[in-house]
Protein backbone atom coordinates (compact mmCIF):
# COMPACT_ATOMS: atom_id res chain seq x y z
CA UNK A 1 0.00 0.00 0.00
CA UNK A 2 2.85 2.34 0.89
CA UNK A 3 4.57 1.54 -2.40
CA UNK A 4 1.37 2.34 -4.28
CA UNK A 5 0.96 5.67 -2.48
CA UNK A 6 4.61 6.56 -3.17
CA UNK A 7 4.16 5.80 -6.85
CA UNK A 8 0.95 7.80 -7.01
CA UNK A 9 2.84 10.93 -5.96
CA UNK A 10 5.03 10.70 -9.07
CA UNK A 11 3.67 12.47 -12.17
CA UNK A 12 4.90 9.59 -14.38
CA UNK A 13 2.41 7.25 -12.67
CA UNK A 14 -0.52 9.34 -13.90
CA UNK A 15 0.83 9.18 -17.44
CA UNK A 16 1.02 5.37 -17.35
CA UNK A 17 -1.70 2.81 -18.03
CA UNK A 18 -2.36 1.90 -14.39
CA UNK A 19 -4.69 4.77 -13.39
CA UNK A 20 -6.64 4.11 -16.57
CA UNK A 21 -7.01 0.41 -15.72
CA UNK A 22 -8.05 1.34 -12.18
CA UNK A 23 -10.56 3.96 -13.33
CA UNK A 24 -12.20 1.74 -15.94
CA UNK A 25 -12.35 -1.19 -13.51
CA UNK A 26 -14.06 0.97 -10.89
CA UNK A 27 -16.61 2.32 -13.39
CA UNK A 28 -17.41 -1.16 -14.72
CA UNK A 29 -17.58 -2.61 -11.20
CA UNK A 30 -19.94 0.18 -10.15
CA UNK A 31 -22.40 -0.25 -13.02
CA UNK A 32 -22.19 -4.05 -12.95
CA UNK A 33 -22.43 -4.67 -9.22
CA UNK A 34 -24.47 -1.78 -7.80
CA UNK A 35 -28.03 -2.72 -6.93
CA UNK A 36 -29.11 0.86 -7.40
CA UNK A 37 -27.32 3.86 -8.78
CA UNK A 38 -26.64 6.91 -6.66
CA UNK A 39 -29.54 9.34 -7.03
CA UNK A 40 -27.19 12.32 -7.44
CA UNK A 41 -26.82 14.04 -10.82
CA UNK A 42 -23.16 14.38 -11.69
CA UNK A 43 -23.60 16.38 -14.86
CA UNK A 44 -22.88 20.09 -14.35
CA UNK A 45 -25.40 20.87 -17.06
CA UNK A 46 -28.21 19.24 -15.05
CA UNK A 47 -26.97 20.80 -11.80
CA UNK A 48 -26.78 24.32 -13.19
CA UNK A 49 -29.60 24.47 -15.71
CA UNK A 50 -31.74 21.29 -15.54
CA UNK A 51 -30.89 20.63 -19.20
CA UNK A 52 -29.33 17.19 -19.84
CA UNK A 53 -26.21 16.93 -21.99
CA UNK A 54 -25.94 14.47 -24.94
CA UNK A 55 -24.21 11.89 -22.77
CA UNK A 56 -26.57 12.12 -19.79
CA UNK A 57 -28.01 8.69 -19.07
CA UNK A 58 -24.93 6.70 -20.06
CA UNK A 59 -24.37 5.48 -16.49
CA UNK A 60 -28.02 4.39 -16.21
CA UNK A 61 -27.79 2.84 -19.67
CA UNK A 62 -24.65 0.87 -18.75
CA UNK A 63 -26.28 -0.22 -15.49
CA UNK A 64 -29.31 -1.47 -17.44
CA UNK A 65 -27.10 -3.34 -19.92
CA UNK A 66 -25.33 -5.18 -17.10
CA UNK A 67 -28.70 -5.97 -15.48
CA UNK A 68 -30.20 -7.41 -18.67
CA UNK A 69 -32.68 -4.64 -19.55
CA UNK A 70 -31.31 -3.69 -22.96
CA UNK A 71 -34.46 -1.95 -24.23
CA UNK A 72 -34.47 0.43 -21.30
CA UNK A 73 -30.75 0.88 -21.78
CA UNK A 74 -31.41 2.10 -25.31
CA UNK A 75 -34.05 4.51 -24.03
CA UNK A 76 -31.73 5.93 -21.38
CA UNK A 77 -29.03 6.64 -23.93
CA UNK A 78 -27.94 4.60 -27.00
CA UNK A 79 -24.34 5.64 -26.35
CA UNK A 80 -24.38 3.30 -23.32
CA UNK A 81 -23.74 0.30 -25.60
CA UNK A 82 -20.81 2.08 -27.19
CA UNK A 83 -19.47 3.08 -23.78
CA UNK A 84 -19.57 -0.51 -22.48
CA UNK A 85 -17.80 -1.76 -25.60
CA UNK A 86 -15.14 0.96 -25.42
CA UNK A 87 -14.49 0.46 -21.70
CA UNK A 88 -14.23 -3.34 -22.01
CA UNK A 89 -12.07 -3.12 -25.13
CA UNK A 90 -9.72 -0.63 -23.51
CA UNK A 91 -9.42 -2.83 -20.44
CA UNK A 92 -8.52 -5.82 -22.64
CA UNK A 93 -6.04 -3.79 -24.71
CA UNK A 94 -4.28 -2.55 -21.59
CA UNK A 95 -4.15 -5.82 -19.70
CA UNK A 96 -3.67 -8.50 -22.37
CA UNK A 97 -0.90 -9.04 -24.94
CA UNK A 98 -1.87 -8.25 -28.51
CA UNK A 99 -3.73 -11.31 -29.81
CA UNK A 100 -6.32 -12.20 -32.46
CA UNK A 101 -9.28 -11.12 -30.35
CA UNK A 102 -7.82 -7.67 -29.70
CA UNK A 103 -6.76 -7.38 -33.33
CA UNK A 104 -10.36 -8.10 -34.36
CA UNK A 105 -11.93 -5.48 -32.08
CA UNK A 106 -9.23 -2.81 -32.26
CA UNK A 107 -8.37 -2.00 -35.85
CA UNK A 108 -8.87 0.89 -38.28
CA UNK A 109 -12.20 -0.36 -39.66
CA UNK A 110 -13.79 -0.96 -36.27
CA UNK A 111 -12.52 2.41 -35.01
CA UNK A 112 -13.88 4.17 -38.10
CA UNK A 113 -17.34 2.60 -37.72
CA UNK A 114 -17.41 3.27 -33.97
CA UNK A 115 -16.26 6.87 -34.51
CA UNK A 116 -19.00 7.52 -37.07
CA UNK A 117 -21.61 5.87 -34.86
CA UNK A 118 -20.51 7.89 -31.85
CA UNK A 119 -20.67 11.26 -33.57
CA UNK A 120 -23.97 10.49 -35.37
CA UNK A 121 -25.66 9.42 -32.11
CA UNK A 122 -23.99 12.26 -30.21
CA UNK A 123 -25.34 14.90 -32.59
CA UNK A 124 -28.72 13.16 -32.69
CA UNK A 125 -28.89 13.53 -28.89
CA UNK A 126 -27.54 17.07 -29.15
CA UNK A 127 -30.27 18.26 -31.51
CA UNK A 128 -32.89 16.28 -29.55
CA UNK A 129 -31.89 18.28 -26.46
CA UNK A 130 -31.99 21.56 -28.35
CA UNK A 131 -35.51 20.78 -29.64
CA UNK A 132 -36.97 19.35 -26.47
CA UNK A 133 -35.27 21.26 -23.68
CA UNK A 134 -33.31 24.22 -24.85
CA UNK A 135 -35.96 25.93 -27.02
CA UNK A 136 -38.63 25.33 -24.35
CA UNK A 137 -36.24 26.61 -21.69
CA UNK A 138 -35.75 29.88 -23.59
Amino acid sequence: MGVLLTRMTQPRFWQSKYPEILGISLILAYVALARELLPIPLCPSVIFSDIPCPTCGITRSMWSIFHGDWVRAFHWNPLGFLAVFLFVRRLLVLTMPRNRLIEAIDNRWVNGILGMTFFIVYFWMFFYIINNYYIKYI
Partner: protein
Amino acid sequence: MPEWYVMIANQQIGPVDHAKIVEFIRLKQVVPQTLVWKHGMNEWIAVGNVDVFQSYFAGTAQPTPPNQAPPHTSGHRAKQKLAGTRFCRNCAEAIDERAVVCLSCGADPVKSNNYCQECGSETHPKAIICVHCGCKLATGPGILDQIAQGGDYIDAPNPPRDPLLMALLSGCCIFWLGQILMGQTTKGIVMLLVTILSIPVGLGIVLWPIAAIDAYLIGKKLKEGKPVKQWEFF
Protein backbone atom coordinates in the same frame (compact mmCIF):
# COMPACT_ATOMS: atom_id res chain seq x y z
CA MET B 1 49.00 9.31 -29.64
CA PRO B 2 45.63 10.57 -30.98
CA GLU B 3 46.52 12.59 -34.03
CA TRP B 4 44.20 11.43 -36.83
CA TYR B 5 40.91 13.00 -37.88
CA VAL B 6 38.46 10.81 -39.83
CA MET B 7 35.48 11.86 -41.98
CA ILE B 8 32.68 9.32 -41.46
CA ALA B 9 29.26 10.07 -42.99
CA ASN B 10 30.39 13.66 -43.62
CA GLN B 11 31.13 14.11 -39.94
CA GLN B 12 34.57 14.81 -38.61
CA ILE B 13 35.65 12.42 -35.87
CA GLY B 14 38.83 12.83 -33.84
CA PRO B 15 41.49 13.17 -32.87
CA VAL B 16 41.81 9.39 -32.70
CA ASP B 17 44.89 7.26 -32.52
CA HIS B 18 46.26 4.71 -34.97
CA ALA B 19 44.71 1.76 -33.13
CA LYS B 20 41.25 3.34 -33.26
CA ILE B 21 41.40 3.72 -37.02
CA VAL B 22 42.51 0.10 -37.34
CA GLU B 23 39.48 -0.81 -35.21
CA PHE B 24 37.25 1.25 -37.54
CA ILE B 25 38.74 -0.57 -40.54
CA ARG B 26 38.10 -3.93 -38.90
CA LEU B 27 34.45 -2.94 -38.27
CA LYS B 28 34.21 -1.70 -41.88
CA GLN B 29 33.22 1.77 -40.69
CA VAL B 30 36.30 3.03 -42.48
CA VAL B 31 36.79 1.96 -46.09
CA PRO B 32 39.77 2.74 -48.34
CA GLN B 33 37.96 5.80 -49.69
CA THR B 34 37.28 7.32 -46.26
CA LEU B 35 39.09 10.65 -45.85
CA VAL B 36 41.61 11.20 -43.04
CA TRP B 37 43.81 14.07 -41.99
CA LYS B 38 46.49 14.87 -39.41
CA HIS B 39 48.69 17.83 -38.63
CA GLY B 40 51.29 18.34 -41.30
CA MET B 41 49.06 17.23 -44.20
CA ASN B 42 47.98 19.82 -46.74
CA GLU B 43 44.57 18.25 -47.40
CA TRP B 44 42.33 15.31 -46.52
CA ILE B 45 43.36 12.10 -48.26
CA ALA B 46 41.81 8.66 -48.66
CA VAL B 47 42.90 6.33 -45.90
CA GLY B 48 43.71 3.70 -48.53
CA ASN B 49 46.45 6.00 -49.79
CA VAL B 50 48.11 6.34 -46.40
CA ASP B 51 51.05 3.98 -46.21
CA VAL B 52 50.61 2.95 -42.58
CA PHE B 53 47.03 1.79 -43.18
CA GLN B 54 47.34 0.15 -46.58
CA SER B 55 48.26 -3.22 -45.13
CA TYR B 56 44.98 -3.38 -43.21
CA PHE B 57 42.96 -3.33 -46.42
CA ALA B 58 44.43 -6.56 -47.77
CA GLY B 59 41.67 -8.45 -49.54
CA THR B 60 39.30 -5.46 -49.63
CA ALA B 61 38.67 -2.88 -52.36
CA GLN B 62 41.62 -1.14 -53.93
CA PRO B 63 42.44 2.38 -52.73
CA THR B 64 41.25 5.22 -54.87
CA PRO B 65 43.88 6.83 -57.09
CA PRO B 66 44.77 10.28 -55.80
CA ASN B 67 43.55 12.11 -58.87
CA GLN B 68 40.09 10.57 -58.72
CA ALA B 69 37.29 11.67 -56.43
CA PRO B 70 36.16 9.08 -53.87
CA PRO B 71 33.08 7.17 -55.09
CA HIS B 72 30.83 8.32 -52.24
CA THR B 73 31.19 11.96 -53.29
CA SER B 74 30.05 11.19 -56.80
CA GLY B 75 26.51 11.07 -55.55
CA HIS B 76 24.01 8.46 -56.54
CA ARG B 77 23.36 5.56 -54.25
CA ALA B 78 19.60 5.27 -54.37
CA LYS B 79 18.14 2.72 -52.00
CA GLN B 80 14.89 0.81 -51.84
CA LYS B 81 12.53 2.59 -49.48
CA LEU B 82 10.08 0.41 -47.55
CA ALA B 83 6.56 1.55 -46.66
CA GLY B 84 6.46 3.52 -43.41
CA THR B 85 10.18 4.26 -43.47
CA ARG B 86 12.47 7.03 -44.66
CA PHE B 87 16.21 7.61 -44.65
CA CYS B 88 18.06 9.59 -42.03
CA ARG B 89 19.39 12.77 -43.63
CA ASN B 90 22.54 12.44 -41.54
CA CYS B 91 23.62 8.82 -42.07
CA ALA B 92 21.20 7.42 -44.73
CA GLU B 93 20.06 4.57 -42.49
CA ALA B 94 16.43 3.45 -42.96
CA ILE B 95 14.31 4.64 -40.03
CA ASP B 96 10.64 4.78 -39.12
CA GLU B 97 9.05 7.79 -40.84
CA ARG B 98 7.76 9.03 -37.48
CA ALA B 99 11.12 8.71 -35.70
CA VAL B 100 12.37 11.92 -34.10
CA VAL B 101 15.89 10.54 -33.58
CA CYS B 102 17.90 8.22 -35.83
CA LEU B 103 18.71 5.06 -33.91
CA SER B 104 21.85 4.58 -35.97
CA CYS B 105 23.62 7.93 -35.54
CA GLY B 106 21.52 9.62 -32.83
CA ALA B 107 20.98 12.76 -34.92
CA ASP B 108 17.73 14.52 -35.74
CA PRO B 109 16.81 12.83 -39.05
CA VAL B 110 15.66 16.02 -40.84
CA LYS B 111 18.17 18.48 -39.43
CA SER B 112 21.20 17.36 -41.42
CA ASN B 113 21.72 17.73 -45.19
CA ASN B 114 23.88 14.80 -46.26
CA TYR B 115 21.36 12.43 -47.83
CA CYS B 116 17.89 12.48 -49.36
CA GLN B 117 15.21 11.24 -46.96
CA GLU B 118 13.29 9.54 -49.80
CA CYS B 119 15.96 7.71 -51.85
CA GLY B 120 19.05 7.77 -49.60
CA SER B 121 21.21 9.42 -52.27
CA GLU B 122 23.85 11.92 -51.27
CA THR B 123 22.77 15.52 -51.64
CA HIS B 124 24.53 18.84 -51.98
CA PRO B 125 24.44 20.69 -48.64
CA LYS B 126 22.57 23.62 -50.21
CA ALA B 127 20.18 21.54 -52.31
CA ILE B 128 16.45 21.89 -51.73
CA ILE B 129 15.46 19.21 -54.26
CA CYS B 130 17.05 15.77 -54.58
CA VAL B 131 18.55 15.54 -58.08
CA HIS B 132 18.18 11.76 -58.05
CA CYS B 133 14.51 11.30 -57.16
CA GLY B 134 13.16 14.86 -57.49
CA CYS B 135 11.54 15.03 -54.07
CA LYS B 136 11.70 18.07 -51.81
CA LEU B 137 14.38 17.60 -49.20
CA ALA B 138 13.20 17.74 -45.60
CA THR B 139 14.75 20.77 -43.91
CA GLY B 140 14.33 23.05 -40.95
CA PRO B 141 14.21 22.37 -37.27
CA GLY B 142 13.25 18.87 -36.31
CA ILE B 143 10.61 17.94 -33.77
CA LEU B 144 13.17 17.94 -30.96
CA ASP B 145 14.12 21.53 -31.79
CA GLN B 146 10.48 22.54 -31.95
CA ILE B 147 9.91 21.00 -28.54
CA ALA B 148 13.03 22.71 -27.15
CA GLN B 149 12.05 26.11 -28.57
CA GLY B 150 8.28 25.98 -28.23
CA GLY B 151 8.44 24.81 -24.64
CA ASP B 152 4.76 24.28 -23.99
CA TYR B 153 4.37 20.75 -25.32
CA ILE B 154 2.49 18.27 -23.17
CA ASP B 155 3.95 15.17 -21.60
CA ALA B 156 1.77 12.65 -23.42
CA PRO B 157 0.64 9.48 -21.65
CA ASN B 158 2.24 6.20 -22.60
CA PRO B 159 0.55 4.12 -24.02
CA PRO B 160 -1.55 6.79 -25.78
CA ARG B 161 -5.18 6.95 -24.71
CA ASP B 162 -7.99 5.71 -26.95
CA PRO B 163 -9.22 8.78 -28.93
CA LEU B 164 -12.81 7.56 -29.05
CA LEU B 165 -12.94 6.89 -25.32
CA MET B 166 -11.50 10.34 -24.70
CA ALA B 167 -14.17 11.85 -26.96
CA LEU B 168 -16.83 10.02 -24.98
CA LEU B 169 -15.41 11.26 -21.68
CA SER B 170 -15.04 14.83 -22.96
CA GLY B 171 -18.64 14.95 -24.12
CA CYS B 172 -19.63 13.25 -20.88
CA CYS B 173 -20.64 14.61 -17.48
CA ILE B 174 -17.27 16.24 -16.82
CA PHE B 175 -16.71 18.13 -20.05
CA TRP B 176 -13.12 18.27 -21.37
CA LEU B 177 -12.17 15.34 -19.10
CA GLY B 178 -10.53 13.61 -22.06
CA GLN B 179 -8.16 16.52 -22.61
CA ILE B 180 -7.22 16.50 -18.91
CA LEU B 181 -6.46 12.76 -19.07
CA MET B 182 -4.38 13.21 -22.22
CA GLY B 183 -2.11 15.79 -20.58
CA GLN B 184 -3.75 19.10 -21.58
CA THR B 185 -4.53 19.75 -17.93
CA THR B 186 -4.60 23.54 -17.96
CA LYS B 187 -6.69 23.72 -21.10
CA GLY B 188 -9.07 21.04 -19.82
CA ILE B 189 -9.69 22.67 -16.45
CA VAL B 190 -10.07 26.19 -17.88
CA MET B 191 -12.44 25.01 -20.62
CA LEU B 192 -14.42 22.94 -18.11
CA LEU B 193 -14.95 26.05 -15.99
CA VAL B 194 -15.82 28.13 -19.05
CA THR B 195 -18.32 25.50 -20.18
CA ILE B 196 -19.96 25.17 -16.76
CA LEU B 197 -20.19 28.94 -16.28
CA SER B 198 -21.63 29.47 -19.74
CA ILE B 199 -24.31 26.77 -19.42
CA PRO B 200 -26.81 29.01 -17.56
CA VAL B 201 -26.50 31.72 -20.20
CA GLY B 202 -26.95 29.21 -22.99
CA LEU B 203 -23.47 29.23 -24.55
CA GLY B 204 -22.19 26.08 -22.88
CA ILE B 205 -24.30 23.87 -25.12
CA VAL B 206 -22.17 24.92 -28.12
CA LEU B 207 -19.03 23.78 -26.33
CA TRP B 208 -20.25 20.18 -25.73
CA PRO B 209 -19.72 18.85 -29.26
CA ILE B 210 -16.58 20.99 -29.60
CA ALA B 211 -15.14 19.26 -26.51
CA ALA B 212 -15.90 15.80 -27.94
CA ILE B 213 -14.52 16.52 -31.42
CA ASP B 214 -11.44 18.23 -29.98
CA ALA B 215 -10.70 15.28 -27.69
CA TYR B 216 -11.03 12.83 -30.59
CA LEU B 217 -8.68 14.79 -32.87
CA ILE B 218 -6.10 15.51 -30.16
CA GLY B 219 -6.21 11.80 -29.18
CA LYS B 220 -5.58 10.81 -32.80
CA LYS B 221 -2.59 13.16 -33.02
CA LEU B 222 -1.09 11.69 -29.87
CA LYS B 223 -1.73 8.15 -31.11
CA GLU B 224 0.19 8.99 -34.29
CA GLY B 225 3.11 10.16 -32.15
CA LYS B 226 2.81 13.86 -33.01
CA PRO B 227 3.72 16.47 -30.38
CA VAL B 228 0.80 18.47 -29.00
CA LYS B 229 0.94 21.81 -27.26
CA GLN B 230 -0.83 22.58 -23.99
CA TRP B 231 -3.30 24.96 -25.65
CA GLU B 232 -3.62 23.23 -29.00
CA PHE B 233 -7.14 22.75 -30.37
CA PHE B 234 -8.20 20.20 -32.99
